[in-house]
Symmetry: none
Subunit: 194 residues, 2 copies
DNA sequence: TTCTTGATTGACGTAACAATAATCAAGATG
DNA sequence: CATCTTGATTATTGTTACGTCAATCAAGAA
């Protein structure tokens, strides 16, 4: 090799390579295949585990339980969520297909107020409203009364019609002559978000 | 091809291939690299969480979601008769987009029981469960306690963990040493049908 | 003395691959 | 007719291969 001018740093360094154990986990690793849905939990668990191993004091529950004790600890309890007789996964579900019967006549409305809490409809819930559906007595409807939109349960008896709240703090309203009632649509579903 | 004698079963079967979702995990998988020492724990955890769901009807979110943006009306329409062409039309909303953050990790479970009515979750409701989401204190979760599923509100304070009902008729449960808790997923939405 | 440099090696995440598993419907058998 | 078999079809799974990134080295430059 001919002479090198200046600006010739570097060069061979036998044995200079990265040292074993210098990686994130300081130990050998393995490649495994896991369900996509489990990836975040496993990663989080590894992260918290690495911190603990680093000698730093970490609260065991600082991170979410799903990243917790992958090892199980064992107890029992009954209650809460009895399972149906069916087993295993059924067919997949598409929300648009499952919740929308008449696409051209379906609209969403956000609930304001709490007059329907007895029916499990709360402030902020999203209502799926089907305008192609014929309203029947007992159904929850979007109604227009004297130009104002409201969510109520429709009651029809003979020629008499009511809009009933599902909260005792609100009055029932009977539709009388001279009152303009329009049933705008029928509430098919209510979606509450957490 | 000349004539076939007997003993000629088999043959072409277009479309006969293995169905999607027929694997051990019934969902897509990913390959990740983890420390060798963590492999047994992760495998055990995957096994146990799969077992826990064995008797429950769970529906995965469709792998081919339809697109159906539908109009979202403003909550307060002061005057007139709302119609699709109205100015009051705030936005459009697609349920598959709006309600599903992690498609591959989203599953649906139907509620049985009434321990969570205080949170607006009633018997028969359809829960949208996000399994990729980290559970935090205060969130409603699907939890596995000794192979039994339950829907509860998770409470974490320091090192203590509880599963709380939202109905005074049911007891709160504190997770103690030796108890086996797995958070199967976080409840993102509840859908009530009318 | 500190920083830079080209080279050396280990670590990591993903792609690629092959074997296995699940599914299909026509044909064979009892 | 009911059940099993068959060859083909397709998804899943675990492992290996691969390329990029990261950590380390010591001579040279400032």
């Amino acid at each position: 090799m001919t002479q090198r001018t200046s600006f010739s740093h570097g060069g061979l360094r036998p044995g200079s390579g990265r040292k074993t154990g210098s990686g994130r986990y300081a130990e050998p690793t393995e490649v495994i295949r896991i369900p996509q849905s489990a990836v975040p939990a496993v990663r989080a668990w590894l992260d918290s585990r690495a911190e603990a191993m680093g000698g730093v004091t970490v609260q065991p529950f600082t991170s979410a339980p799903s990243s917790l004790p992958l090892p199980l600890f064992g107890a029992r309890i009954a209650a809460g969520f009895p399972s149906p007789a069916d087993d295993h996964l059924e067919d997949s579900l598409d929300l648009n297909v499952h919740l929308v019967q008449h696409p051209a006549a379906t609209f969403f409305v956000r609930v304001q107020g709490d007059s329907m809490t007895g029916a499990g409809i709360y402030h902020g819930d999203l209502l799926v409203v089907d305008r192609a559906r014929q309203a029947k007595s007992g159904e929850i409807v979007i109604a227009v009364i004297n130009g104002e939109l409201t969510v109520k349960r429709l009651k029809i008896e003979g020629e008499r019609v009511w809009l009933l709240p599902e909260n005792p703090h609100y009055p029932a309203l009977e539709i009388r002559d001279g009152m303009e009632l329009v049933i705008w649509g029928v509430v098919a579903h209510a979606v509450r978000s957490f």
